[in-house]
Symmetry: C2
Subunit: 344 residues, 2 copies
DNA sequence: TGTGTTTACTGAAACGTTAAAGTTGTCCCG
DNA sequence: CGGGACAACTTTAACGTTTCAGTAAACACA
């Protein structure tokens, strides 16, 4: 039951502990003979030695650990529950990190907690923060001394690396698509557009497209709530309460769309015949919908991969020059939109 | 930029490092005066000290870290991608762990990797393994010396704690429900029933229900593949190819159901009028489906909570007595089943 | 007044690594 | 043949904690 330490290996191989360490880390500055290397490796496998990464990180100040912070959208709700987007992103992050020999320290973010210390605590090599960082102490993150990658954040600060998408352009694309299909009264449905997050950009893109087409942005056509299925249902109810004024909707998240579609269908509003929908994200879910969602696709897998890459690159390079990565979007046409030529 | 260590705090408070440690951990055997405590706490917040958990875990051999292993169902596919069940479970695990001051070390499982060392490496306080553990070296886990909780595994070994559901009974319940609704030819659609996992139990439950009702288990009515949306689509194709013999299906996972429904609907098979479906899991998804899925609900949140609790309890209690936790199931009726009285 | 107990601490040795600096021994070159 | 360069190690001091074993002072008791 006793843990095998590097010293046991050293003893078994008849060398010093540091030699074992050099062999295991194949430190480039150190020269070790082939035979010694072999003897050490033999001892390692014979004893079933696995290095204690805590000790390693204590001594070497790198941990092969990446901290990942994922928003816990609402206090009561659990992490990632509300939006499958996070699950898919996390998948990709985990997969990429693992392939580079890194592990993930996962935490949800809730306002009242100190994420900084979580990271600091464990001496992570980098931090990936998804979505809006809750809490005003983003500045404290700078003192961490490790690369910080902000995913889908519009915080502009050279101290952080960012990775995101052309939210505004994507929203514009979506809205324009609906306009091209002949829609003139188009609703905008999203999560909160008060915080400085992606939704506000998407709202701007929506407004731009409307304006460019000479269409009014009706305040009554804007629905803003939370990013989850329930809000989609609620928005449907609200849509009906407001008198079914629009023939189409641009919805900023697939989960919301799912709820909206469900809510409308339950009230005998047909999708897309009565209301066309263009969604956003293209999570796995959107193809399962009925009708399958026409949506602005972002490459979630790539986002995760890039996020990890940014951390790794930045932690390798001593120079901390800020990088910004914007991934392309494209519209994938499915079944939730139809032409509308009879609009006034 | 220099890290604040316990010594700095000690100096600032005019006490020894050990006193600081005692204060911070409020070690019950040690007595510290009110004033000293206060002085230490003041110094801590003044200097912004956060303990280095790596050092702590090195010294005290507990890490406040729980290792979580989630299956990466297929080599190419990424973690949790294929089945939202994992995302929801992870959510709950993360949330519960965090509330107890634990962090999560997350890893996907792929055949060719050594998960054991991941855990051993970091000195986790416990391991939660979800699903079938890939790799034959389950025994090696015993040498870890920390509690191991197997979620949804039918490995029987006193060395492990297990948490699961009445898979067989749930399947029986689902199938019987269909029988009660008048169906006599009922398909069974699931992931692999070769491995010793939950699917084989659910298959047994299906068989039991059929047998009890005096109905034959037709080999042609059994569809087995992988647990993902794509397989649902494929199963639909296969169902049609085999001649649409059944009027209902018991499907062992909601994701598969989603694909099956989609695949059938695309071929103008109506759900539930032509084919009724009872599903399994009740992931968030299943209410979004069209029609919403009638499904055997398992409380995924509770599963996650219990898993964490099992780890924590077991790591507190020195006695390693094996605990087994079975969570209840219930059928939730939605829209994917209808009566069938015309069956021969 | 001496002994024992309690309170409130301190000192120092771990924990398992890494990495800088030091120590050999060998070889080569002028 | 002396000295430098190099290869192949070893020694030792960190890294930041915890925790065991003290210790010194204060107090109680008889």
């Amino acid at each position: 039951m006793k843990r095998v330490s590097i010293k046991d290996v050293a003893k078994a191989a008849g060398v010093s502990a540091s030699t074992v360490s050099y062999v295991l880390n194949s430190t480039p500055t150190e020269t070790i003979s082939k035979e010694t290397k072999q003897r050490v490796m033999d001892a390692v496998s014979r004893l079933g030695y696995v290095p204690n990464l805590n000790a390693r990180s204590l001594s070497s100040r790198r941990s092969s650990l990446i901290g990942v912070l994922i928003p816990q959208t609402e206090p009561g709700k659990e992490l990632m529950f509300s939006n499958p987007f996070y699950g898919e992103l996390l998948s990709s992050i985990e997969y990429t990190a693992r392939q580079h020999g890194y592990h993930l320290l996962l935490s949800g973010t809730k306002e009242d907690q100190d994420y900084l210390s979580i990271a600091q605590n464990r001496g992570v090599d980098g931090v990936i923060i998804v979505g809006t960082y809750p809490g005003e102490n983003l500045n404290a993150l700078k003192t961490l001394g490790v690369p910080v990658v902000l995913v889908d954040s519009y915080v502009k600060d050279d101290a952080f690396h960012t990775i995101g998408i052309e939210d505004k352009e994507g929203a514009r694309m979506a809205t324009r698509y609906l306009i091209e299909k002949g829609h003139r009264r188009i609703a905008f449905v999203s999560g909160s557009i008060r915080e400085n997050g992606v939704n506000i950009k998407r709202y701007q893109g929506y407004c731009d497209a409307m304006r460019e087409a000479g269409l009014p942005v009706d305040e009554q056509a804007v629905y803003s709530g939370t990013v989850d299925y329930e809000y989609g249902i609620a928005a449907a109810r609200e849509f009906l309460a407001r008198g079914r004024k629009q023939t189409a909707a641009f919805v900023t998240a697939d989960v919301i769309s799912m709820g909206l579609v469900k809510g409308l269908q339950q009230n005998h509003v047909r999708i897309p015949e009565d209301v066309s929908i263009v969604s956003f994200d293209d999570v796995y879910l959107s193809q399962m919908a009925h009708p399958a969602l026409t949506t602005i696709r972002q490459d979630i897998g790539e986002k995760g991969r890039q996020a990890v890459q940014l951390v790794l690159n930045a932690s390798k390079a001593k120079e901390h020059h800020h990088t910004e990565c914007i991934l392309p979007l494209r519209l994938v046409e499915r079944e939730s939109v139809c032409e509308r030529r009879d609009d006034p």
